[in-house]
Amino acid sequence: MLTEVHVPEDVPAAVSLVAAGATIIGGGTSLMPRLNDYASPPTELVSLRRAGLAGVHVDGDTVTIGAMTTLAQIEHDPRLALLHPVVRSIASVPVRTLATVGGNLFARQPHGDLTVALVALNARATLAGRSESELPLTEAGLVTAITAKIPKKGAFRYLKAARRRYNSASLVTVAATIHDESGEVTIALGGVSDRVVRAHAAEAVLSGRPLTEETVHAAAEAELAHLTPADDAYASAWYRKRVFPVHLRRALLGR
């Protein structure tokens, strides 16, 4: 049960409440379902809703998205068209109105598909009182914004395999950025581990090689050994590993 919900008006106030032991709540779409039963442990929350962290800033090809920007705000921002298929693959309309970019970084798998996309875009998170961090984050903290470079048209790929077309958690999510100049591919995966992961083994196979049926198949085979998906209500671990090569191929080759 909730013992207190603080709604600070700025980041320093939020930081001191967190330091005093309060749990951060963004949109609440991951946290509140766990607190909504009367058996949850006593919890003190600090809501970032009024901390001034929402908003999108675009400067050339660099985009900065405030941590409290909602998935719905991304969906309706024409400057973020790249991310529209990503956010529309997540949950449902009345959940996306609440769910935030910052919160997605901490969503439990097999949720957190926006983070998969952000990892593939090599986005960085800004944390209060610290320097920028690479994604996926390895430690907790109060994220104030994420920053990413928008790649050139056609370089970003995103594919989410789910049980239904709308409003389903991930079976396998693949996001990738293809860097033509360097011959490198950045690949991030969801649904295949207890957190969002970079597919380093697959990237190594594809480095400097053309994207073909053969190379992508070899990349998938190399990555398979590193995948540790969960058995859950959406799919078995066996199934997720079985279909991963198919979805990697579809994401990278479009077929």
Partner: protein
Amino acid sequence: MKIVNLKVNGVGKAFIAKPETTLLLALREQLGLTGAKRGCAQGACGSCTVLLDGEPVVSCLVPAVTVDGSDVATVEGLADGDKLSHVQQAFLDGFATQCGFCTPGMIMSAEALLDRNPNPTRDEVAEAISGNVCRCTGYEPIISAVLDAAERARL
């Protein structure tokens, strides 16, 4: 305990909220508006959908104290006296409701869609109500009713 002020269906309301008082609980138990339903309390069923500052939200996931000063629209505020909104009338005429539990949430999701997109395709309607679970109708009459409401609004 904090005093929370909301504008609900255009009327200013104040109530005392405990930390665990969600927007849904406040509407139902303190303001007497029982249209929005408590289904799953997980944000998964959509039966508690209301408009918060014009946008649809699952009100079961919103601590009331975090939305002090906001505008809330619920199904109770749609009709003008005896005259139902286009969406409500289309649901009634199209038999888009059976047990009725999901109906207020469905209608608020539909209202939000039509506010933003007055000419939706069938697929856009399906996406808009993808967060609202109906265990009776099979969704088809609901989708048809939303398209019918869009048509009525154009006349």
